[in-house]
């Protein structure tokens, strides 16, 4: 499924040697069912579905909170859940993930408690980032997820460095970097592709891309493998990322995956009433959630209407988390001075004495 710069394998037939077919988009979900070559991913289907529903419901609620001014910021992921969840679940425990802010759900898919995420969004006294960073930039070291940067693309060369370090240490760790196609415009993107090509770092780049973006084509110039996958097809994303991770583990280096999906944020198109009602589980025929659900129901993997039950649980969980975050209140003023350095230099100790008058 990957286009290797060396092998030039066609996307849907990795064993055949053909010229690269970069325009071809990998799909698992077809109108008449699931392509047989993706059935191995089906075991993960229910987990993909559960996480995608959860991400959708949480994001819709966060958009509403942001519009109401109760939190300062939210990067909605509505419409991109298949890419974020598919890529995250493709990785093994122990693989590192470098998300951008819009990929915030990666940390939750890895196990970051929803309550912690909400404490972070509210910058509460129980925010692991101590109120230092805006919402959707949560640290989750316990789950090998690096906190997103506010600078678009800055994390991508860092992902290469982490993968390179794992290679130097001869660890089995592989790294997934998640980002949107705007990153492909940055110098950091070039640095990341170039360094990963030179050092054959075990990293997989997963780019959420608009249909016109043409990101995967650039891999050829850097000597990287590439694939273009339907970003509304969670099974295809999971399968392609898994394949790229296996390739990385075999010492074959990095892969650039372009996951084609509709422009984001879809949330901007949703009205307040729909968000308030949480009526976000069916956004039409090209909705990644609808497509996966239909295939899983047809295959007997989940019950029809399963999403409603999951959504109800998540809404209740969100209600409790929001109440807890508001109750926790803000961090103590002196936390501004924590973690600037490992210790507290004299000038910060002096300034800390002035806080609050």
């Amino acid at each position: 499924m990957l286009v290797s710069a060396a092998m030039h394998a066609a996307p849907d037939r990795p064993t055949e040697t053909k010229p690269p077919v970069l325009g071809q988009v990998v799909r698992a979900l077809r109108d008449d069912g699931i392509d047989v070559s993706f059935r191995a991913a089906l075991d993960v289907g229910p987990a993909l579905h559960r996480h995608m529903v959860r991400a959708r419901v949480v994001s819709a609620r966060m958009v509403a909170l942001q519009r109401a001014g109760r939190i300062g910021f939210h990067t909605a992921c509505i419409g991109a859940e298949a890419v974020i969840v598919g890529a995250t679940l493709a990785a093994r425990e122990g693989d590192w993930i470098f998300p951008s802010a819009r990929d915030w759900y990666a940390a939750l898919a890895r196990g970051l408690p929803l309550e912690t995420y909400v404490h972070h969004a509210f910058g509460s006294a129980r925010d692991p980032a101590k109120g230092h960073a805006a919402p959707d930039h949560a640290p989750a070291r316990r789950f090998a997820v690096v906190p997103p940067s506010g600078v678009v693309g800055a994390h991508v060369p860092q992902a290469v460095g982490a993968a390179w370090a794992a290679k130097i240490r001869k660890d089995p760790t592989r790294v997934v970097a998640l980002f949107g196609d705007e990153v492909a415009d940055t110098g950091d993107f070039h640095n990341a592709m170039n360094f990963s090509g030179v050092f054959k770092a075990p990293v997989v780049f997963v780019c959420r891309a608009r249909p016109s973006a043409n990101v995967a084509d650039r891999a050829v110039a850097y000597g990287l493998a590439s694939a273009r996958v339907d970003g509304t097809d969670a099974l295809a994303v999971l399968t392609v990322v898994r394949e790229a991770l296996s390739r990385a583990a075999e010492g074959k280096g990095a892969t650039l995956i372009e996951a084609v999906c509709a422009p984001l944020p879809r949330a901007a198109e949703l009205d307040d009433a729909a968000l308030a009602a949480g009526d976000v589980l069916d956004l039409g025929e090209d909705d990644c959630l609808v497509r996966l659900e239909r295939a899983l129901v047809r295959d007997g993997r989940i019950e029809a209407g399963a999403a409603q039950g999951i959504a109800a649980e998540v809404r209740a969980e969100m209600d409790a988390a929001i109440a807890a975050a508001e109750q926790a209140g803000p961090p103590k003023p002196e936390t501004i001075f924590e973690d600037v350095y490992a210790g507290t230099p004299a000038h910060l100790a002096a300034q800390r004495r002035n806080i609050g008058g």
Binding site: W96, F98, D127, P128, A129, K130, H132, A133, H137, P139, A140, R141, V146, P147, S149, G150, V151, A154, V156, P157, Q158, A159, V160, G161, A162, A163, W164, A165, A166, I168, R169, T173, G187, D188, H190, N191, A192, N194, F195, V198, F199, E338, D339, V340, Y341, A342, G343, P345, A346, H347
Partner: protein
Amino acid sequence: MAEMNLVNAINDALKLEMRRDPRVVVLGEDVGRVGGVFRVTQGLWDEFGDDRVVDTPLSEGGILGTAIGMALYGLVPVPEIQFADFIYPGYDQIVSELAKMRWRSGGEYSAKMVVRTPVGGGIRGGLYHSQSPESLFIHVAGLKVVCPATPYDAKGLLLASIRDPDPVLFFEPKRIYRAAKGEVPEGDYTVEIGKARIVREATRREGAVTVIAWGAMLYEAIAAADKAAEQGIECEIIDLRTLWPVDIDTIAASVTKTGRVVIVHEAPKTCGFGAELVALVNERCFLSLEAPPVRVAGFDTPFPYTLEMDYLPLAHRILPAIVETARY
């Protein structure tokens, strides 16, 4: 003890720490087989190989971005930026990422590394091989900034920097890379970050002047102080060694004693580190001052090629400032 120059001392520190700590890796442009443009990393690739001494593509943003990822993962990178003048393509990675990683993650992650880079003029390098950008890093919360002037301090401060838990910008005064010589212990020792050194103590208060300098300009300050002594003016000379966090206690004690201070640096005067030092001296020592604090600095122009010796705050420019301050 062996006599070494700055290049030898820094090379010795790198070798010592790479033998001691397998997490330490060196990366940069031509740092491997070539041994670096100034040969500071010579011999490291032969001893430690491709995995720990890495020749990178020519991209400072790539070097620093990937080094941050290595540091997050648990290595201790010591990237070399060939000239400090070229650090700006990687400035965003330093300012937005390296400096803020611990803070923005609430202490969960840190990206501890030492960025080594040659600074300063006087080597006929022109405007792109001569700059002194220390203020641009001192202003950024989360960084430490070090600039040794002697081989002893270079080795001890580099070892301390690599072992420090915070990111350190390690500025090497290239004009004195080979000219500065001194006795350096062979084994392991550190020089504490954040401690200035009193190079020459004033024995009396009346008419004495505190002179603060670092890097290559320390030797110009010493030369100027020698000339001032011929006119009966005693100088207390402070080598800052660490620029941030600055050793304000040592400065304040000296200026409280002398009541007079001259600050020397190569960087442009406006918003140079001298400006912060004057402000700190005023906050701490205002009632002890006998004369206005004076800065002798580079001009607010780009660094010139032909007239570099006119641009630099050399001894002949420092001496009148000392004399005027002493006689104010």
